[in-house]
Amino acid sequence: MSDLEQMYQQVILDHAKQRHGHGLAVLDGPAVGESHQINTTCGDEITLRVGLDGDTLASVTWEGQGCSISQASASVLAELLDGASLRTADETMEAFKALMHNRGVPLDDEREDLLDDATAFVGVGKYPARIKCALLGWVALRDAIARATVGTEGSDHE
């Protein structure tokens, strides 16, 4: 498998086409947060919205446009974390970031388990310029959770 094929694994190409959680859910209430992120290298954008139910991510939806890596990453994220606890979300985010900075080498089993389909992004770590693409949705997620947690619905990030 070439580096390129390792980056664009089938599971990524599939997620890029069948995007989970795509289309923003209409949510209400104080425990809703939204974040808009732009990758300025290519103009890719993602808007991600979460709704919290106590310590649970009750809803994770997003919309956006961009490269297969950014779209697939947001899709995997939504699939993994919709319904997860905030703590799991946190750990998964950390593991995904670690994966990105691991230069193409898989993580330990524990974190691999946590990441599930997201382990397919391992090859991205060999392409520093693409790490931003893969992280775009995750950055939006962290920001959206922070906004939901303080109980203010931020519409944009300035």
């Binding site: 664009y8 190409l13 290298t41 290519c42 103009g43 297969s68 890596i69 693409r130």
Partner: protein, 427 residues
């Protein structure tokens, strides 16, 4: 070309390197930044090794030698672009800084800085600044901001479906309120080379200053700024085989002498009291602080090299590459070329091709090319309004220079043809 392409390529050590999977480098990103020939690197190394000193400031031998090298470089660049006097060349950090120098100078003049001498530059509410829809951000945002700062109106000349300026709009968009007409000499997306004459003519009719973005023209085609009739022009060293860290503003001497500076400091000022200050003539008034001396030496060496090869030869070489890139890309199924294609316009286009692959994002297209060693640029190339006009967020651009071979151009087309299959996009 007088030297063979093999001779030329030997001058560029980086072209011999291998990249991903041991593939040879196919560098098709010269529109973003060019590579530098050994002789440019050597001229800078020699300066560092033996002549580095503060320019125009010391009484010692190194200072004299450094000053001579610095001003000699100015003369080389002046000759390349047809400046009437060397002092019409002002060193800047890059082309962006050069355009900002004009816009901020006009802004300062409008705020009263520079006194009576700069009154001709004052603009305000009721006045207009005109740009075009094919401008790089560097020749758009400074004018937007100047409009915001002064209350002048920003207008733009639109482009047609191929990205060509609609020159018929000159009559209506450029009128007696117009104080500045800023436009590109060659588009970094479509590659279209502007027919400057009608724009200058219209600007002169209404008494507007013309500002030419010559970033993509000076490195690739013969340019005689004095003859073009424009008032100011900006270009960058790093796109014309010179180092990063330097660019130039060209302007008519008497216009430069009346424009107030917008960066203030040592060297630019004649006398400084705590209360007030008097400026030098151009170019000194704009060259505040220690200058990019070794970069000037490199840019001068690059200008000499381009003149040695001959800009007409450079242009002819790149025209052949344009044909391979553009016709090749346009002929691929599911690939859209931004800008014109085909015989009638090939003389008016740079050696570049920006394409959109149906169903595949530019970043992914670029990645496949990169995997074959082909270095291209992906994104909006700092030209969002034009991409928006074409209805796409981004594109993939291959761009050539004197060292690009026809085989390299053909490889771009070949790999481009495999992209949709790789991503499983039905054709």
């Amino acid at each position: 070309m007088t030297p063979t392409l093999t001779d030329v390529r030997r001058e560029f050590p980086i072209l011999g390197r291998t990249v991903r999977n041991g593939k040879p480098l196919t560098y098709l990103d010269s529109g973003a930044t060019s590579q530098r020939p050994q002789r440019v690197l050597d001229a800078m190394a020699e300066f560092e090794r033996a002549h580095n000193g503060a320019v125009a400031r010391g009484a010692h031998l190194l200072a004299e030698e450094a000053t001579e090298a610095f001003e000699g470089a100015r003369a080389s660049v002046a000759r390349l672009v047809g400046a009437r006097e060397d002092r019409e060349i002002v060193w800047t950090e890059n082309a962006t800084a050069a355009i900002n120098l004009v816009a901020n100078g006009i802004g300062n003049a409008s705020a009263g800085i520079g006194g009576a001498a700069s009154a001709r530059y004052r603009i305000g509410p009721g006045d207009s600044i005109v740009v075009t829809q094919t401008e790089h951000h560097a020749n758009l945002v400074p004018w937007q901001q100047l409009a915001a700062r002064t209350g002048a109106e920003l207008r733009w000349i639109e482009v047609d479906e191929l990205g060509r300026m609609r020159l018929e709009q000159l009559e209506t968009k450029v009128d007696s309120s117009t104080k500045v007409l800023a436009f590109t000499h060659a588009s970094n997306v479509t590659g279209i080379i502007t027919d400057v004459a009608p724009l200058v003519k219209r600007a002169q009719q209404v008494g507007a200053f013309t500002v030419l973005d010559a970033c993509q023209s000076v490195p690739h085609i013969p340019v005689d700024l004095g003859a073009l009739g424009v008032d100011f022009a900006a270009f960058s060293s790093h796109k014309m085989l010179g180092p990063t860290g330097i660019g130039a503003l060209w302007g008519r001497a008497e216009l430069l002498d009346a424009l107030p500076p917008s960066v203030f400091g040592g060297g630019a000022v004649m006398t400084v009291a705590l209360e007030e200050t008097t400026w030098h003539q151009a170019p000194t008034r704009f060259e505040a602080g220690s200058q990019p001396v070794v970069q000037a030496v490199g840019m001068g060496a690059a200008a000499e090299y381009l003149m040695e090869i001959g800009m007409a030869n450079v242009a002819a070489h790149e025209r052949r590459l344009a044909q391979i890139l553009r016709e090749g890309a346009a002929a691929l199924p599911g690939v859209r070329l931004l800008g014109p294609v085909g015989e009638p316009t090939l003389n008016d286009v740079l050696g570049l091709a920006a394409v959109v692959v149906d169903g595949v994002h530019a970043h992914d297209v670029g990645q496949v090319l990169d995997d074959h060693g082909v270095a291209v640029r992906v994104g909006h190339h700092c030209n969002q309004p034009l991409h928006r006009h074409f209805g796409v967020p981004s594109s993939t651009r291959a761009s050539a220079h004197i060292y690009t071979t026809e085989d390299e151009a053909a490889l771009f087309v070949e790999v481009l043809g495999t992209v949709r299959k790789f991503f499983g996009v039905s054709s």
